[in-house]
Amino acid sequence: MLEKPNKLRISLICGIAIGAVSAIPGISLINCCCCAGVWMGGVLAMYLYRQQFTEGMPPLESSDALMLGLMSGVIGAFTATVLNVLILTVIGPVEQELVKSIVGRLLDRLVEQGGLQSDMADTMKEQFEQSIRDAGKLSNIFWSLFMALILYPIFSILGALLGFAIFRPKNPPPTTMVQ
């Protein structure tokens, strides 16, 4: 019987995709919706892995989804951190500026509509200014890596499990149960 396809190659592709989506200014805003970019990376990993299967190979299993999600998430966390540092070094805190301008407009609109007090809006704008000033600090970079190493594998595993539930084989083999 043939062996299952290599997970590392797919994990690398999807991990880099997760990292790129999470680091590129503008596109990274997709993660503001419950880490949707990382979820999608997990789903994509499952889809691509399923495409690698040929006749004679053992069937696709849920454990493959768990491992793929975990590997993609960890690779994605490191890739995102490296890309973030590169972007910060080369072009500065573009993402924070972008978020600041979007949130600034949103806050102004809320103040105009009476949904937010102007002093609160000013405090929030000041917090964004502070985050821009802190963006390049080493402690911030390590904190981001630490959080990414926790969050990305979790959301990537969830995405891969969701992907498995969607792309699973129509007649799955019976599960081996362990007492």
Partner: protein, 168 residues
């Protein structure tokens, strides 16, 4: 199955912890602002946390926005009620298209809001988030239970082989 129950309990515990953290941030805001800011920053990679789009507790925003809160809390409640409607020993797999149907209202709400055609309100964000979050456990729990069981079997088999070789 005892093993599936344990995996399910761990998932419930982790989800409860995640939801607790969302409420912990505003609860700490007044008394321990430094601790609150750490909790807020832990949730910042997964949510925009814009004040006007968040629920408030003790006059401070929750750790995530209304839509995300609706997703996470409905996920938690749906997860809690999962064993009432499904057997953990042999969880049933849902149809492939229900997830798309559950996701559609939220996607439409976001896209129409971005296009400026419709202004999404707190109510639409909450309803569409709840719809998506409550369907999600049906797709997450079966492969998770099955996957952990398979991984456990594989590790046990490898461990058995290791000890068999060592005994030889």
């Amino acid at each position: 199955m005892e093993h599936n129950k344990r995996v399910y309990s761990v998932l419930v515990f982790l989800t409860a912890l995640w939801c607790f953290g969302i409420l912990l941030a505003p609860a700490l805001h007044a008394s321990h602002p430094a601790a609150a800011s750490i909790v807020y920053s832990a949730y910042s990679p997964v949510c925009h946390q814009v004040d006007g789009r968040c629920f408030h507790l003790f006059e401070a925003k929750w750790g995530v926005c209304i839509r995300c809160s609706a997703i996470y809390f409905s996920f938690f409640l749906s997860l809690l009620s999962y064993p009432m409607f499904h057997r953990l020993s042999s969880p049933s797999w849902p149809g492939r298209w229900w997830i798309a149907l559950a996701m559609a209202p939220m996607t439409i709400d976001v896209l129409l809001n971005l296009a400026g055609i419709h202004h999404s309100s707190a109510l639409t964000r909450m309803i569409t988030g709840v719809l998506f979050g409550s369907v999600l456990p049906l797709y997450i729990v079966p492969p998770l239970l099955e996957g952990v069981t398979q991984l456990r079997s594989q590790f046990l088999a490898r461990g058995g082989l290791f000890y068999a070789r060592k005994a030889q």
